[in-house]
């Protein structure tokens, strides 16, 4: 049987630590004045997409749901985070 297991407390805590670390990185990117604001902003949005996917797959357990749901919610991230990034770059010109 290759039944996917429920996440262990250790895995859940690992995901939480990753989310916290990613949140601090995004905040530093928004607050910093060193590198280009455009790059910092784009990276912060990409990090948001990765964080959203972590929450969906690990906490909402799409990892162990029928494939189609994982694909649908992945599409949500790509379409909407992608649109925000595309709109951001269009507004710059």
């Amino acid at each position: 049987m290759n039944t996917p297991a429920h996440p262990s407390p250790k895995q859940i805590t690992g995901v939480w630590l990753l989310l916290v670390a990613a949140t601090f990185v995004s905040w530093l990117l928004i607050e910093q004045h060193g590198i280009s604001a455009r790059i910092a902003t784009t990276v912060a949005l990409l990090i948001a997409g990765v964080k959203a996917r972590l929450v969906l797959r690990q906490f909402m357990e799409l990892r162990t749901a029928p494939w189609v749901f994982g694909a649908l919610f992945d599409a949500w991230i790509v379409v909407f985070v992608g649109a925000i990034i595309a709109g951001y770059w269009i507004a710059l010109h």
Binding site: P4, H6, P7, V20, G49, K51, Q58, F59, F73, V79
Partner: protein, 206 residues
């Protein structure tokens, strides 16, 4: 090995639970996923509306964004993420049949989550006292509508968590309790993930 161990354990205790883990399945009640899908579609539309507005008036949006406090945004994110972590641990405890620890974790999740509400109140009152309202400009109209609708989702989630705390003691059927806690957890994580995207979008800088 641990997956196999869990299956064997579940098989011995409750055949209904064994069926739950023997197939790939959505956590919680399927109906909750209808709500999650509809809410995420609605917020997706909000993101498009905001992006369209920002592309039309980048200078106005940039100037308005500077009135926001990124540190409050950071704290809000940390409160939601940490509350979500506690709820995920509560689901794990509930699956092992540990109702007591699950209950404590849910209460802790509500306590940490209420930090988000405190932040929102501080943020909204700071805006209003400095004369910024929904009518200030298009950016702030969207800001108050989107964060306000998100806040309503947050409040519904808090009520659902409270209902779960009471179910942890009052629900005799383990299968029904698991459906409850998994459904509420998925909804609560959605509130978290919508904020994760909403927050950096509002703070976009030129």
């Amino acid at each position: 090995m641990s997956a196999l161990g869990e299956l064997v354990h579940v098989d011995l205790t409750n055949p209904a639970l064994a069926r739950r883990s023997a197939h790939r399945r959505l956590a919680g009640e399927p109906g909750v996923w209808v709500f999650i899908g509809a809410d995420m579609a609605a917020f997706g539309l909000f993101f498009l509306i905001f992006t369209y507005g920002r592309a039309a008036h980048p200078a106005l949006y940039e100037q308005s964004r500077q009135a926001l406090n990124p540190t409050i945004g950071l704290l809000s994110t940390l409160f939601l993420i940490t509350s979500g972590w506690l709820v995920a641990l509560a689901v794990g405890a509930a699956r092992s049949g540990d109702r007591g620890p699950a209950r404590i974790l849910l209460v802790l999740a509500m306590l940490v989550g209420s930090g988000f509400a405190v932040n929102k109140i501080i943020e909204y009152s700071a805006k209003i006292s400095s004369g910024i309202t929904m009518l200030t400009n298009e950016f702030f109209t969207y800001y108050f509508i989107f964060t306000g609708i998100h806040f309503i989702h947050f409040l519904i989630g808090m009520v659902a968590l409270a209902a779960c705390v009471s179910k942890a003691r009052g629900e005799p059927s383990q299968a029904r309790f698991l459906t409850w806690i998994e459904s509420v957890a998925c909804y609560w994580h959605m509130v978290d993930l919508l904020w994760i995207v909403l927050f950096p979008m509002l703070y976009l800088q030129l």
